[in-house]
C-alpha cells in the first residue's frame, strides 16, 4: 500500500489545545471540557464534555455532536483516534 492511501501518516499532529478551542466554540456553555493527548503524539485524543447541549438527546447523538465539531480532522486523518465521554447537566 502506498502512503497516499493512508493520509494519516503524512498529517501534521494536532495540539490538544486546538481541539479544545474548537469544542469551546461549539459548546460555549460547557460545564466541563477536557482534551487529553493520550499518547503524546498529537493524534490520539480523549475528549470529555459536559454540556446542557446533551440534555435529553441519546448517547449516539451526543457523540455525533462531538464528532461533527471535529469532522474535518477525523476525515483527513489528523485525529487518528478519538475517545469521547459526554455528560448532560445533573
Amino acid at each position: 500500500m502506498s502512503a497516499l492511501q493512508f493520509p494519516v501518516d503524512t498529517m501534521a499532529a494536532m495540539e490538544a489545545e486546538d481541539i479544545r478551542e474548537l469544542l469551546v466554540r461549539a459548546f460555549p456553555d460547557a460545564l466541563e471540557l477536557e482534551v487529553e493527548d493520550r499518547t503524546g503524539t498529537g493524534d490520539h485524543f480523549q475528549v470529555t464534555v459536559a454540556s446542557p447541549a446533551f440534555d435529553g438527546i441519546s448517547l449516539l447523538d451526543q457523540h455525533r455532536r462531538v464528532n461533527d465539531v471535529l469532522s474535518a480532522h477525523l476525515a483527513d486523518g489528523s485525529i487518528h483516534e478519538l475517545r469521547i465521554k459526554t455528560k448532560g447537566t445533573p
Binding site: H63, N67, E81, R83
Partner: protein, 120 residues
C-alpha cells in the same frame, strides 16, 4: 459481484449484530475494536464481524452509509448503536443487554462469525 456499498448494506440490514472492526475476532488489530468486541461478548451478543482493513474503501463506504466517522461501528438490527465508547458505556449501564434482549430476545445465540467483503 455486488458493489462494495451494497455488500456493507446487506451486512448491516441482515445481520442481527454487525461489528465493523480492524482485524477479526480471532486477530484483533486495534484496541478500540477489542473494546467493542469484548463489550458485545460480555453482553452475550451474536456477532457478525467485518474486517475493514483489507481496503480503505471499506471504511469510506461504511462512514458514508452510517454517517459515523470512526471505527469500530456496531449495529443491532440494522441500527447504528455507536463506537467502542458508546458500546462500553451502554454495557456498564445495562442498556446494551436491554437493547439486545429487545431486538433479539434474551434466549439468543452467541455465535461469532466473520463476513469477508468481496473487493473488485
Amino acid at each position: 459481484m455486488k458493489e462494495l456499498r451494497e455488500q456493507i448494506e446487506d451486512v448491516i440490514k441482515h445481520e442481527p449484530v454487525a461489528l465493523f472492526m480492524k482485524g477479526t475476532p480471532q486477530m484483533v488489530m486495534c484496541g478500540n475494536s477489542y473494546r467493542a468486541l469484548n463489550a458485545l461478548q460480555t453482553a452475550e451478543a451474536p456477532i457478525t464481524a467485518v474486517d475493514i482493513l483489507p481496503d480503505p474503501r471499506i471504511r469510506h463506504e461504511l462512514s458514508a452509509l452510517s454517517g459515523w466517522p470512526t471505527n469500530p461501528q456496531v449495529f443491532v438490527n440494522g441500527e447504528l448503536v455507536g463506537g467502542a465508547d458508546i458500546v462500553e458505556e451502554l454495557l456498564a449501564s445495562g442498556e446494551l443487554v436491554q437493547r439486545l434482549d429487545g431486538a433479539l430476545g434474551s434466549d439468543r445465540p452467541q455465535d461469532v462469525k466473520v463476513v469477508a467483503l468481496e473487493l473488485a
